[in-house]
Amino acid sequence: MLERMHGRLGDVLFTWFLVILGGAVLLIAALMAWELWSGGALAFHHFGFGGFIASSSWDAVKGQFGAWPFLLGTVITSALALTISFVPSLAAAIAIAEYTPPWLGEIIAYLVDLLAALPSVVYGLLGIFVLIPMLRNYIEQPFFTWAITKAPWLLTVLGPPTGIGMMSAVLVLSLMIIPYSSSLARDAIKLVPRSQREAMYALGATRWEVVRLVVLPYARGGIFAGVILALARAIGETMAVTMMIGNGHQLPFSVFGPAATMASVIANEFTEATGDLQMSSLLAIGFLLFLLSLLVNFIADYILRRMTAGEGRK
């Protein structure tokens, strides 16, 4: 009897313990959205929500702050990085899931995943001391010198060939997001039933035809979800981009020249923010970044869920 009471009391306490901690997690998430919003409220109020987003001036001296250059910078760098990384990341996924013996596939998969395990600051470090000088000396400057004589109109598009800027950041970003799209694509390709491949082989298809006509279409949901997740990573990536992009918020951006993203401007200016308005503007950018990540993640989640639901139906 006592034993049983003890058990029941224990159950109640245990459940409450879990509920309180679980509730704390919910509270943290809610509080986070709220704090970013209310932290940015001053800026949103001062410039207006639309005005803050659309304004492209960012001037601490004049007290003018707008999110547009950073929004644009985030969208451009992420989109470019995604475009560059898509083919190699899909190629790696196909190689692992289709073209290599399992032992080799496992090694390649491990190495690709290792790209995600390396800290962002290490990418930044290599970016500063390897990629930037390389790009500057072997690509940007030769190209720039060529443009001076042959195509002067290109110069404003190219921007200063210092190595520090958009191009370097985008290249590093492309490398960093590869594991995210590649691993989901790989999983999706591995889930394609053998019967599907065999049915195509039985029609007299070559290996590539099986991949292109059966495997990739069948796995397209997972491949696309991986792309969206990689996009989410690219949007939020902070340190490597901050270290390489040059932190210039002067529009228009150029190919070689400095730029900034939402994450990089926060990383760069938050501890040095002078005055409440700049601080609030940075928090407001944080809030916008929060919304953007949320949106992208919900899209990825929706696709993944639809994909698994579709498989359930068969």
């Binding site: 065999e198 049915a199 195509m200 029609l203 279409p217 068969k314």
Partner: protein
Amino acid sequence: MENVRMETKEVTVFYGQKAGVSSVSLPMYDKKITALIGPSGCGKTTYLRALNRMHDLNPIVRIEGEVLLDGENIYAADKDPVVIRRRVGMVFQRPTPFPTMSIFNNVVAGLKLVGVNNRDKLMEVAERSLKQAALWDEVKDRLSEPAVGLSGGQQQRISIARALAVEPEVLLMDEPTSALDPISTQAIEDLLATLKEEVTIVIVTHNMQQAARVSDYTAFFLNGDMIEYGPTDKIFTNPTDERTEAYITGRFG
């Protein structure tokens, strides 16, 4: 006397060191249905897949002996598995419609591989194959809908139509009705009777009644060996080997 369309001579299929099928010699007569029967695990599917080089896809499988198609060994050095598989089509245990393709594109998938893109030609072939597969009337108004929306029996007939569209000389069927309900099974059995007027059929089944109903010749497999082969009536009424008799009378398997 009928022609031999396809023939195996002492075919042995090795999985690594282990033989899945040992030294099977069988003729397959032109425009006849040959049934391969036997308890599960007896090697009949393994044997069937040796007939269109499906085992090539698995690196640990090795094949000895000869598989002759119109007198030529399909495993000869100058033979290409891609070409062989067009001449020897296959239908699998479960329906395998390509989920991202419409009914129409499923049926003509094999033709598109070889670069046939003429819409009229494709339409003509699709209609012919779907009629052969006794499916035309059911799907002619929704050719552009996804094939996965069809019932299991219809999906299996799509798979058959798809295999027929490339006009194979031989059609291999691996337990084509085992995943289907009785009515769909009936439909496919009826279909076989008309199909054999145009194509040589080899069918694996572990449903003995089915073999008795549809086939002209039957081969009985047990533990990787081909025990007995002969005209279907003879195998089912007067088998020579006592193991065959034991199987068809239901004493094991």
